[in-house]
Each structure stands twice: as C-alpha cells, then as structure tokens.
Symmetry: C2
Subunit: 463 residues, 2 copies
C-alpha cells in the first residue's frame, strides 16, 4: 500500500516517537447515588482504564475505555501487556497507515486467542487507539472531528481495517462514498458550528430513581429544550407502565420516548413485554436481549415493526463483524456505536460506512465516563462528511462525570456544541485522576477510612 | 427453584467449603518447533491459566483454560479478580444448583461490562468452572463423564443457565430429551468402555511443518488406525494444493480429509478459495472467516453445499448465544465445541442440547493444553445420554502436552479410551507446573539464560 505524508508539518518518521504509555485505574463512586442503574447493572461505579501516551516531544495523547468499576484492573493489565506494541513506534508513521497498525494491535499472533477483537483485549485496544487519535488531533492542532473532516479521503480510508467486512463495504466503496458526500461539506460544518448536534437525555429514567425525581428531571430537561427522553425498563412490567405513563404525562405525546431494557429479556419475552409497553409509543426498544443475538434482534424487529417500535442496540456490540450482521439482518433500526467498546475510532469509522451503505441511522451511545466527550466528534464527522443528514439521528447525553474532564462536552439548547480544543476531549483533570485513582487515590482512601466502601484485597480479589 | 441433594454422601451445605483458589500462568515453549502453527497463529506457545481450588477437606479441584502464551497473565488477573465470588462458598451447595451459581459468576453487575460472557472474563470463568467440575467428580469418586451419565436429569438441567436460548431449547425440553434418550444408555456405556470414541488427527498438517514431515506423520497415523486427517490451509493457494495432494496421496481417497483456515479469509474469498480445493474432497472447511460471522458462515455453507463441503466452526465461538445462531442459521454443519472457550461444562451442555434439537453433529475441538483431556468427557456423555449416536461425529486429537498431565488422554486404535480416574483429567503434574510456570519456572529461567526467549518486562510489557 502506498504511503504518503498526512500533513505538511513534518516528514514521515521524524520526530514523534512514543516513549512511554501509562495505564491507570480511575473509578468514580456513582453507585452511591444509583446513577446509571439499570436492569442488569444495578450498582455501577462509573470508571475507566485511562491511557496516557508520552512522546519525545511536548505533546501527549490521552485515551480511555469506560468500565463499571470492578474489573478495571483487568483492562489495565491488558493495556500494560499490549504497551510494547506501541512504545518505541513513531506515531507519525502510525497515522500514515493507521489501519495496518490497528491490525497489528488486534491480530497479535498469541494475544488474539484471548479475544479475538472482543472483551477485555478489545477494550484495551480502544483505550490505546483513542489516545493515539487524541495525540493525532493535538499534533495537527485540531479537534478530532475537524481532523477527520479535513483529512484526505485516502488517508481516512487507510485508517480502517476492512478484514471481514468486504462483503458489505470495500475500501474503494468507502472512498467513493466520501467523495460523493463532499458536496455541501462547508455548509454543514458551518451549520454545525452554529447550532450543534441534537442530543437526547437518559437522565430522567434510571431504575434506581424515585418517582418524584423522575418527574422533576423530565421537567428540567424539557425546559432546557430536550425533545427526546429515555427510560430504563425491564425489571417489573407494572413498574415500567407506571414510569412510562408518568414520563409521558410530563413530556407529552409530541416528544420522543425511548425505552431501554439493558439485555434483561429472552427473545420471545422481549416481544411480549414490548407489546405491553406499545401504548406509550416508544420510538425504540434498546438492548432487549443478548447483545450477541443478531438473529434474535431480527426476530424482535420483525415482530415490533407493526407496532411502530424499532430496535436499537450497539453499546455492547463487540466488534465490526457483529455490527455488520445487525445491519445486514434488519436486527437494528438504530445503530448505537460506542466510543470505547469496539477498537477505537478506526473500527467505528468502518461501522459508519456500513450503516451508510445499508441505510441505518447511527444514534451513538454515550454517558458513562468520557463517552459523550468522544462520540460527539464521530457523529459530527458523519454529518459533515458521510451521511450528510441529521434525520432520525440523535446522540445520547448524560450529564455525569463531565466535571472531571479538562474539555468537557458542552450541550446547549439540547445540542452538542462543536468541540474547539485540539484532540479527542479525553484528558482528565490531573486532580480528578489523582483523587479517584483506585485504590490509592485520596477520595478512595477517604471512603475506605469512613467505611463507605471496603478496602480491596490484593489485586483485587475483593468484591 | 427446588433444591435437592445430588448425592447421598453428604447433606447440603456440609463440609465442602472452598477455602482458597489459586491461578497460575503455565506456558510451554511450543513455538520452538512450529507445533500448532496456522494461518493466523504463526508462533503459539501452548499455555494455560491453571486454577486450583482448595477445600476444607482433603480434596482439590483442578481446572484450566487454554491460551497461546502472551496474554495468559491477563486471564490470570481476571481469575484473581473473580476469585472472591468462589472463596468461602460451599461447593456442595454450588453443585446442587450449579446453573444459578454460573449465572452469578457471569453476570456480576460490574464485571459483566468488560465481557459480557466473552473474551478474557469468559476464559477465566471456564478455568474456574472446569476446576469446580473436577472437584465434583473427585467428591463423587467418578470421572466427569460418568458423573454426568449417572446424574439425575433434573440436577443436570439445573446446572445450565438457559438465559438467551429459550427460543431454541427450554429446561423442560432438555429434561424431556434426556429422559427420551435414557433407553440404551447401559449398552452405549458398555460399548464405549470396550471400544472408546473415534478420534481424528491434526498432527499431520501444521503450516510450519516440512513436506517430508507431513508425509511421515500421515503414514504414522494411518498405521495407528486413524481414518480422518486435518490439514491447515489459507496462507498460499498453490501451497495448499500441494499439501492436500500430498496428504491424499498417502492416505488415499477412502479416508476423510478436513481443512482448516483459522479465520484467514473474508466471506467471498472463503468461497472462491474452497472451490479451488474442492478437488481434494474435504469433508469440511473449518473456520473460514471471522468466528463471529454467523451470516457469513451461512452464506459460505450455502455456496459450498453443492460441492459436498460442510462448514465447521466453534473453537473461538464465544458463548452459547453465538452457538445458538450458528445452529439456527445453517452456518455450521459441524459444531466444534471447545472445553475452555465458553464458560465451562455448564455452558457446553447447553450447546449439546441445542445441537441435538437442531440436528447438528458435535465434533469437539481439542489439542492445545488439556483440551483433549477435558473434551473426551463431554463427548462421551453426549453419546451415552443425549445424541445416542457416533454418526458423523469424531473428536480432534493432537498428541502434544499430554505428558504434563497426571491422567493424560489415552488414544488407542484411533479411539479415545474412557477416562477412569475421578475428576476432569485436568491435574498437571506438579513438576511440570513448577518448571513451566511463567516467568519464574526453572525451564523458563533456563531458556532466558540461554537467550532462547527474552526475559519479559514487568508484568509483562515484553513482547
């Protein structure tokens, strides 16, 4: 494959050698407030495995993958085990042929056995790759969405590993799609800078919240201009009906309601349960069953289509091969990419191309730690350069953990505002990283002292 | 769910408290001989994450999950992180309602995010669960196949978590299947003890072997009574043709040839390449493409059916939900369960039930470290209690690493002989475990000293 320089700022192979990569276990004690609680994840401590890439120059890359607390130490171990594939490499060379590097990372001949391209090793890949994109943005002095928007189509396509997806999209097709969508780019970028990208809120409907809190939050977000609201369901049908009715009462019937079961049901149960909730006119049912069950989702989609309910999934879809099948099979009417689950920006780009090809709108999953910060860049790229439309598209927004980031997401009038600081918006405030590093950070030590959480056993058998 | 005692040897809750669980990183330097080399895994060091469960009585459980070397430390970390869900539990209670315990292990509300039920955490689950079955066998003084054969159907079905698979098989159906197949059990068990279960060999066709070695090994295994031979393909078409022709020349056309691509191709490429190899009349093409691509395998199966070539896959199929879809879709004509990839005996049993229901023969994957030792138990259970037939069924056999086990697999006249020692045949010889523990075992220290392998960096960034 031909190599070419990406920018004029430096010649290939000069001056951006990666000298170190550090992985840290950062956990926020969100379980104390039932924030993020759903049918399957009853007590999450929103956390991340946080990567900093140091170069020989005065520029760093920051990246992360989101986790729910326990197990973050396993992802950190995986990042450490993979670090030797990154340290010593020239980042400028990586960026020129990023897809080839991505394949090296994900296809290491011994390590791939314990994936491949799924679970812990793929989350570790995401954290590393996200840090590399942050670094690239900083080197180019652009936020990642703008880096992507300005990138030569050939360079962008070369960032993608098309292995296993050429039956849906080839590099040549991807290139043609970008070139075809080039018309109108400037107008869309200008409009995006003016208005932003529409968001919906999940803040109103965590399972652990009381009725009063739900109503209060609905009113608050409605007043802020939100028009789409998501509610967690699946633990108790009568309770779900009560909550959906309550939300509809506050938001009215002209607004959009989505419901989210977080994988609690089997296939037939999904269909039966959603028939009971159809009266509340949800736009979609999210994650009705196993995130691996393509054929199950296709069956559910078929059954719910006459009721006007679509199926949304993707936040736990483990790689592009699963996404490919969800898109091929009609098992997904809304494609919910996540910025940390699959192997970083490169693999997510491949999903955008497949979704465009097969005509499925992408509505990213966000929330957690840093997901909003990252995913806004991707969706803005898609709008300007690929899909060219916001129709049927909206990005999840959860107003949590943003205070720990140096350049947090800005949502105004229910729209994500374009990030302007160079990079991928992934840098944690040093004070937050220090305080919440598990288990030695000052906040954790304080909570252990007070008996709010037990001190963990050695590395970390503690539960 | 009703609880009942499994055996008469003890009352529930008495006397089998698990007091500790230890995980070790054991690696054998097989890359030195190109043993196990294939199109995707060019230099494997066959390894395992090895678990020992200690109880308050004088009985231990030994279990493992197979790995290829690098990354084993990540699986060991995952086992350590999960150990608190096991330590302190009463094993006798676990066994009485094993499916419920299995769900606890795989659905831990924070940890499941980094799976769920796939990759590193699921390999760790397999190692732990396999050790529990070994313990159960020892407590009952039976090899695991016989433990399963003699088990009350209700207890066996209660060991399975049916979440996400009830659209194919329910607990009630599974129970009925066992009861229906009960007739003839004694005769089949007696026959199995006399003759054993048929094996095929993969020993003849690793990609790293020379032509002379391949021919010599074909002749050797032919003389031992083997009638089915598997060859690795996929790196170079002309080389594949030469190797297949060579093997056919030695084994003749009345014997069975299988070919294995280890995921090297895309969907269309799989079809094109196999059309070129059809002249050698392979029974199956194994792992033509991504192990996650159900629809891709279905397409390949359709295209190759007229050529008389089936598709086999499963060794990297990450859980029962993927198996369900492969079986539902016609993407798998031979179901290759693996004893360590999905979550241990419990989940594999669910695959046997689905395969039986949907009429697909199970031909287990084996080789590696301990896979032959474990999988023989499962296939023998299936023959005696469920499928009741050996038709179209055969178990892989690779004659490597058996010398490290206290009770290695015995294959005579190309048939696995029934294991007679209580447990799951999973105990490593203490001397082997000591010598090959990575990186501090005596053999590894010796190889580092001689410069045969580099000393690893701290935990283990070394590559």
């Amino acid at each position: 494959m031909e190599r070419r320089t990406v920018t004029n700022s430096k010649a290939p192979g000069t001056g951006l050698v990666i000298r170190n990569l550090q992985a840290r276990d950062i956990r926020f004690p969100t379980s104390l407030g039932a924030h993020g609680s759903d049918a399957m994840h009853t007590d999450p401590d929103y956390s991340c495995a946080y990567v900093v890439i140091y170069t020989e120059r005065d520029v760093e890359g920051h990246g992360l993958t989101f986790t729910l607390g326990r197990g973050t130490e396993i992802v950190v171990q995986a990042i450490n085990s993979m670090s030797s594939m990154v340290i010593g490499k020239d980042a400028a060379e990586i960026f020129q042929n990023f897809g080839a590097f991505w394949r090296q990372l994900t296809s290491e001949s011994q390590l791939r056995w314990i994936g491949p391209e799924k679970g812990v090793v793929h989350l570790a890949t995401a954290a590393i790759v996200n840090a590399l994109w942050d670094l690239w943005g900083k080197v180019e002095n652009k936020p990642v969405w703008k880096l992507l928007v300005d990138m030569e189509p050939e360079t962008l396509v070369r960032a993608i590993d098309f292995r296993y997806i050429t039956d849906v999209v080839t590099p040549e097709e991807a290139l043609a799609m970008l070139k075809k969508a080039a018309s109108g780019k400037e107008e869309r970028e200008a409009e995006l800078r003016r208005i932003g990208y529409p968001a919906y809120t999940t803040q109103v409907g965590w399972l652990g919240y009381t009725s009063d809190r739900v109503k209060e939050l609905c009113a608050k977000y409605l007043a802020e201009g939100f028009t789409a609201f998501k509610v967690k369901v699946g633990q108790n049908l009568e309770d779900d009906k009560r909550r959906c009715a309550m939300v509809r009462e506050v938001i009215g019937w002209d607004k959009v309601l989505m419901v989210d079961a977080n994988q609690i049901w089997d296939v037939q149960q999904s269909i039966d349960w959603m028939k009971e909730l159809a009266e509340f006119k949800p736009l979609w049912i999210e994650e009705p069953t196993s995130p691996d069950d393509v054929l199950g989702h296709a069956k559910i989609s078929q059954a719910l289509k006459p009721l006007g309910i679509g199926v949304a999934t993707g936040e736990m879809c483990c790689n592009r091969v699963l996404f490919k099948q969800f898109l091929q099979s009609g098992g997904m009417q809304f494609c919910q990419i996540d910025s940390c689950r699959i192997g970083g920006v490169n693999e997510i780009l491949s999903v955008y191309f497949m979704a465009k090809k097969l005509g499925v709108p992408v509505c990213p999953h966000a929330g957690g730690v840093g997901l909003c910060e990252m995913v806004q860049h991707l969706q803005m790229f898609d709008y300007v350069c690929l899909s060219g439309t916001k129709e049927n598209r909206v990005v999840e927004f959860v107003d949590q953990q943003h205070e720990h980031f140096e350049n947090p997401t800005v949502v105004k009038r229910a729209h994500y505002q374009v990030p302007i600081v160079p990079g991928y918006s992934t840098k944690l405030k040093p004070a937050s990283a220090e305080a919440y590093e598990y288990p030695n950070g000052s906040k954790w030590q304080e909570m252990f002292s007070k008996g709010i959480f037990p001190r963990p056993a050695g590395k970390f058998g503690g539960n």
